[in-house]
């Protein structure tokens, strides 16, 4: 049995990349492959241009010192103070004592925990523990931070503050973050790119914005949960995804006026994704899809992504519809995009 199979991911330098999936989807295994806590049977793991599988034990340990990792249950040493925990990786790296103390102070300052330097993990809150975890992970000035469900054990407000901290560190330090999560919200809040994993495989991946605009996208479905579409005979049910400008244009009323039809709104949602506003609306038009060909074309020309429900020929048509997003019109395949300076790329098959 392969926990992770045929996964090909490329994380670009300086971005926050989220791998979304249910428990058991293999995302944890995937993440642990990136610092070789789990060794893939075949494939390559390249971090910051270095092929980790080719390294010896000592070299691998040094490489790990340059890859920060934070954990769902924090993984703090209960017998050490907050400062002692942050000092631990520095000891491992052989940093002299005086320098260590200074660096620990800097790191605690960075995560806003200077006051709690002398506290023990049992005396601080979950959010503070994760801040200690983050400070510790940054001790070796890593270029890459791996986050293993770092907010899953935290309440919503604490989650928000930790995500904000990650976003801030990403921007200020140029830190590349690869995180795994089962929370759609995490992807929505901070991820530039995302991949969805199921049964050990990546089923979709790319920039979050592009994924949301891609018809049939699971990410979009997860983020804009609309109920299972029931198509009444003689009607056309369409999911329209819109972004930025088109979100401000009243396409529903334009459609109704232009074609003198009644447009029924069945459901919808608008989300702020990063700086963009993306929304999805489910509308019902009178008449079969064939009758509505002009109306559908109208929507596509307006720069909207259009998905038609309940057609027998839907699957066949989906491919055509895929290319219809007029704004740039790219069906991005982020997973295989290749760039020169990508600090982190994994390609592996575990069995």
């Amino acid at each position: 049995m392969a926990a992770v199979d045929g996964v090909d991911l490329e994380v670009r330098e300086g971005e926050i990349f989220g791998v979304l999936g249910r428990s058991g989807a293999g995302k944890s295994t995937l993440l642990r492959c990136v610092n070789l806590l789990e060794r893939p049977d075949t494939g390559r793991v390249v971090v910051d241009g270095q092929d980790l599988l080719s390294l010896s034990g000592g070299e691998l340990r040094r490489a790990r010192q340059g890859i920060g990792m934070i954990h769902q249950h924090f993984g703090l040493l209960g017998s050490r103070t907050v400062a002692g925990n942050v000092a631990f990786p520095l000891e491992v790296m052989g940093v002299p004592r005086a320098e260590r103390a200074q660096r620990v102070a800097e790191l605690l300052e960075l995560v806003g925990l200077s006051e709690h330097a002398k506290a023990y993990p049992a005396q601080i809150s979950g959010g503070q523990k994760q801040r200690v975890g983050i400070a510790r992970a940054l001790a070796g000035r890593p270029k890459v931070l791996l986050s293993d469900e770092a907010t899953s054990a935290l309440d919503p407000e604490t989650t928000a503050s930790i995500l904000e901290l990650l976003r801030d560190l990403n921007r200020r330090l140029g830190l590349t973050v690869l995180l795994i999560t089962h929370e759609m919200d995490v992807v929505k809040r901070i991820c530039d790119s995302a991949a969805i994993m199921r049964d050990g495989r990546v089923v979709e991946s790319g920039k979050v914005r592009d994924l949301l605009l891609r018809p049939g996208s699971e990410l979009a479905r997860g983020l804009f949960p609309l109920p299972e579409a029931t198509v009444r005979p003689g009607t056309t049910v369409v999911d329209v995804t819109f972004e930025g400008d088109s979100a401000d244009r009243p396409f529903v009323s334009t459609l109704a006026r232009t074609y003198s039809i009644d447009v029924n709104i069945l459901g919808g949602a608008v989300e702020e994704i990063g700086d963009a506003r993306i929304g999805r609306l489910r509308i019902e038009l009178p008449g079969d899809p064939q009758i509505n060909a002009a109306q559908l074309a109208h929507l596509r020309e307006a720069g909207l992504t259009v998905e038609v429900h309940g057609e027998a020929a839907h699957d066949g048509e989906a491919a055509v519809q895929d290319e219809t997003a007029a704004d740039g019109g790219t069906a991005v395949d982020g997973g295989t995009a290749v760039r020169g300076e990508d600090p982190l790329a994994t390609e592996e098959a575990l069995s």
């Binding site: 691998l60 340990r61 790990r64 954990h71 249950h73 993984g75 017998s79 631990f88 491992v92």
Partner: protein
């Protein structure tokens, strides 16, 4: 016997008991910890998996623990002679005391180490720590409260074993209780030794609890 005759007997015997216990405990703390660490490291999912060695060690520990101390003491007389040059006396008693206590403490060390949060070990790995660092700075250190509690229990067991040390010519309170209190019907000696033993055990337990509690960072 009057009480004034009993007192002079008690102090040397107490000293003997404490000496035997202290020396045996010191050896046990070192060797038992080593064995306990090996038991944890060499298991299949351990940091240094050597399952065959793990099985052998586990077997040795089980045999060591299942032998009644009295029988163990007699059985290893040749070994005792090899190490101390004699099979009689307090020094000779220390060898079986140590041999009997090591497997006992090793199991307690093993249990203590297993209670260390695997997430912490995982995190240490991710930081690039070596096995040695993980054992010294994570496993043993995180398990300290458990190790101290285990050592407390072990010390008390060793005090119990010293009572049987008389069999190989060792002294101590146990021997005093048997030779005077039981064989010569000196009830006062019996009472005094029992009270002393109980007091020593309570003191050890109290000290152990105090240290363990101080090590738990709550």
């Amino acid at each position: 016997m009057t009480w004034s005759e009993v007192w002079p007997l008690l102090w040397p015997a107490t000293k003997e008991t404490l000496t035997m216990t202290a020396v045996a405990t010191a050896f046990t703390a070192v060797l038992g910890t080593l064995l306990g660490v090996l038991l944890v490291l060499t298991e299949r999912d351990g940091l240094l998996p050597v399952p065959p060695l793990n099985k052998v060690l586990g077997f040795v520990v089980n045999v060591g623990r299942s032998l009644p101390f009295l029988i163990l003491m007699v059985a290893i007389i040749p070994f005792t002679k090899l190490i101390t040059g004699t099979s009689l006396g307090n020094t000779a008693a220390i060898v079986p005391l140590t041999v009997g206590a090591i497997p006992f403490y090793a199991r307690l060390v093993e249990i203590g180490l297993r209670e260390v949060d695997p997430g912490v070990i995982h995190a240490a790995h991710a930081m690039g720590a070596t096995r040695r660092e993980i054992v010294a700075k994570v496993l043993l250190r995180e398990a300290r409260p458990g190790l101290v509690s285990g050592l407390t229990v072990t010390v008390i067991a060793v005090i119990g074993y010293t009572a049987m040390a008389g069999t190989v010519g060792g002294g101590g309170l146990g021997y005093l209780a048997i030779s005077y209190g039981y064989e010569r019907f000196e009830t006062k000696v019996m009472i005094a030794t029992v009270v002393l033993l109980v007091a020593i055990v309570l003191a050890v337990q109290l000290a152990g609890d105090l240290i363990a509690r101080r090590l738990i960072r709550k």
